[in-house]
């Protein structure tokens, strides 16, 4: 491969390209991760104790999570809520992606995509704050619902998980829509017509023809949304209530409030490992291969 590069760009340029990639990969990806792994496997020591007899590799940081029932419950709640976020995002995104790919005229699709993308030009924190305002007890949403007579007293959207779920669905909708949109767009429209023509209802047409075809896109969107949701910090920090703490907040606390980087690193890796394992499991259940996703 290096020879190919050399033939194309000559030696000096090839060496610099490879060197840059190596610096990026080693210095910015592998080393920091190794340092964190190293941290996670060592006890939190005073500076004086480093290098002493207590400075030994141990799994005790990982064990902490399993002995702390509160952290453990928040951990599983985070996984479960992320599943819920992923599911809700899918429910919202799929019809929209289908509309964009198969129903809308090119003009309508372009307009719709623009409307979807524009909010993402705004900083995530600001977007989340705007939801904070919208969902507030005396905010515009409650005012609107009261005005319409749908409720007779304001709802506390932000006191449970509701605010976090809404905020996250909104934050990750593009990551779900685009892969599904790409997948559905590659479906021959005659397939949909053929299913209809053979008597299939809309529901069955989707279930038997559109969804099987767009499965890789759906899987990609779900994985991205799930990983982003499980690793999200801003949304739960701003829209969450004390009862809806996210595991990332606990990791944050270990690092910056507890000052225990070793413990924080161990928690972060646990979250990563469980998430990857969970995704692998889901992919197996739904018979999606890695190759499908790369398509």
């Amino acid at each position: 491969m290096f020879n190919q590069l050399k033939q194309r760009f000559g030696s000096p340029l090839s060496v610099s390209i490879v060197a840059l990639i190596a610096v990026w990969l080693i210095g910015l990806v592998i080393l920091p991760q190794l340092i964190m792994v190293n941290y996670s496997l060592k006890p939190n020591l005073l500076p004086a104790e480093i290098g002493g007899i207590k400075d030994q590799y141990t799994l005790s940081n990982y064990a902490t999570l399993f002995s702390n029932t509160i952290h453990l419950s928040i951990f599983f709640k985070t996984i479960w809520s992320s599943v819920l976020v992923t599911f809700l995002t899918l429910i919202v995104s799929y019809p929209l992606a289908f509309y964009l790919a198969k129903v809308a005229t090119p003009r309508q699709a372009a307009l719709c995509l623009l409307l979807l993308i524009i909010p993402f030009w705004i900083n995530e924190i600001l977007r989340t704050f705007s939801w904070y305002i919208i969902l507030a007890y005396k905010g515009p949403l409650n005012a609107l619902l009261l005005e319409l007579g749908l409720i007779n007293r304001p709802v506390r959207f932000l006191s449970g998980d509701g605010g976090v779920l809404i905020g996250m669905v909104y934050a990750y909708i593009l990551f779900m829509i685009f892969p599904i949109y790409n997948a559905i767009e590659s479906l021959d429209s005659n397939q949909v017509k053929a299913a209809r023509n053979l008597g299939a209802s809309w529901l069955r047409t989707h279930y038997r023809v559109v969804i099987p075809h767009s499965k890789p896109g759906i899987a990609t969107g779900c994985i991205m949304t799930f990983m982003l949701a499980a690793g999200s910090y801003a949304v739960p920090a701003l829209l969450g209530s004390p009862g809806s703490r996210w595991f990332t907040q606990i990791i944050y606390n270990w690092f910056f409030e507890g000052g225990d980087w070793n413990q924080g690193a161990a928690y972060a890796f646990l979250l990563l490992i469980i998430c990857i394992g969970f995704i692998a499991l889901v992919m197996k259940v739904f018979k999606v291969g890695l190759g499908d996703i790369a398509r």
Binding site: K193, R196, L198, H213
Partner: protein, 360 residues
């Protein structure tokens, strides 16, 4: 069972554009009916109206006397074979055929029975468990037919289904389609831009141009008695000679064809004198020699040997190029480019139609 299809003054507009102009047409029960026309003439739009993918802007569609207005595509007694076949690639052959039955809640055992019978009908026994991608073009074609027939439609709609096949297979499938139609008694509505397909298979053909019906007739009438200049030039080969009508009477018109002299041909209805018209003579209507009623001198430009027959291309004295079709055994050595020819024809072999022949 009444399997007729009636387009009752149906019109289809897309914004400003009228894809199908007011059309009143009854397709008989059990008929093999074709719509023939160049691409973009609105024939696929007609299929979409019948199958329910489009609702006509005005007028309506009736299938077996039942009005179809408001009946969605999945509730109509029609079945469509798509140009690209649109088989479901993620399902097996049997699942494809059984899809329409599965949707209707037919039991698995019953479905299997039906798909086996249909696979036998299209001569693909035992292919049920294959993937669609394992089939050849012709086999896919037959699976598409089997899938469409599985739901026992009253009307089968075929949207240029043979256009992707090679010549031999296409000719073979024509016979098979005709055979299936005869066996099942289903009304076939066939869409094509290939006149060979339309003429060989159909009971009746509707020739369309720019959203309008030009002529509806059986293939022989269409070929022998074209009613419009479009039909005359679109269906089969035809030599179109521009002319002016001198007089018309008793089924014939005498015309002035400039420096070709005055010629004559049959007419359907009388044409006023001095109206500009076109005289059509088929390549097989032109003869070598001067035995015919009207004589034309020409210069031979090209000789094409096509197996059982020969096609000569020659230019007349007014530089117009005409084609002459001869039997292969009429060939002689003297037929070389540049040699002078005398052509002739009789008035009953020519047709005069008012208006100018448009390029097809």
């Amino acid at each position: 069972m009444d399997r007729s299809v009636h387009l009752n003054n149906a019109i289809m507009r897309f914004g400003e554009f009228t894809a199908v102009e007011k059309m009143d047409l009854k397709i008989e029960s059990g008929e093999f009916f074709s719509f023939l026309g160049p691409s973009g003439c609105g024939k696929t739009t007609i299929l979409n109206m019948i199958s329910g993918f489009l609702e006509p802007s005005e007028g309506g569609v009736y299938i077996g006397d039942q009005p179809m207005a408001g009946v969605p595509a999945n509730k109509r007694p029609t079945s469509m074979i798509f140009q690209n076949l649109a088989l479901f690639p993620l399902m097996t052959v049997a699942e494809n055929i059984e899809f329409g039955l599965e949707v209707r809640g037919v039991s698995k055992v019953e479905r299997k029975k039906i798909s086996d019978r249909l696979l036998e009908l299209v001569a693909l026994e035992g292919s049920g468990d294959k993937k669609v991608s394992e089939l050849s073009g012709g086999q896919k074609q037959r699976i598409a037919i089997a899938r469409a027939l599985a739901v026992e439609p009253q009307v089968l709609l075929l949207d240029e289904p043979l256009s992707a096949l090679d010549l031999k297979l296409r000719q073979h499938m024509r016979t098979e389609l005709k055979e299936i139609q005869r066996k099942t008694g289903i009304t076939f509505i066939y869409i094509t831009h290939d006149q060979g397909e339309a003429l060989t298979m159909s009971d009746r053909v509707a020739v369309m141009s720019a959203g309008k019906l030009q002529q509806v007739a059986d293939p022989i009438t269409l070929y022998r008695e074209p009613e419009t200049a479009f039909v005359a030039s679109f269906v089969g080969e035809n030599n179109a000679i521009p002319c002016n009508v001198l007089e018309s009477s008793e089924g014939y018109a005498v015309v002035d064809a400039g420096n070709l002299g005055s010629l004559a041909g049959r007419i359907k209805r009388s044409i006023m004198p001095s109206v500009s018209a076109t005289l059509f003579v088929r390549p097989e209507g032109l003869r070598l020699g001067c035995e015919g009623e009207f004589t034309l001198s020409a210069t031979l430009a090209e000789v094409n040997f096509e197996g059982s027959y020969l096609t000569l291309t020659a230019s007349l004295v007014n530089q117009q190029v005409v084609a002459i079709q001869l039997r292969a055994n009429q060939y002689n050595e003297a037929m070389i480019a540049g040699s002078a020819l005398t052509l002739s024809f009789d008035r009953q072999d020519a047709i005069v139609i008012a208006g100018e022949a448009n390029d097809v």
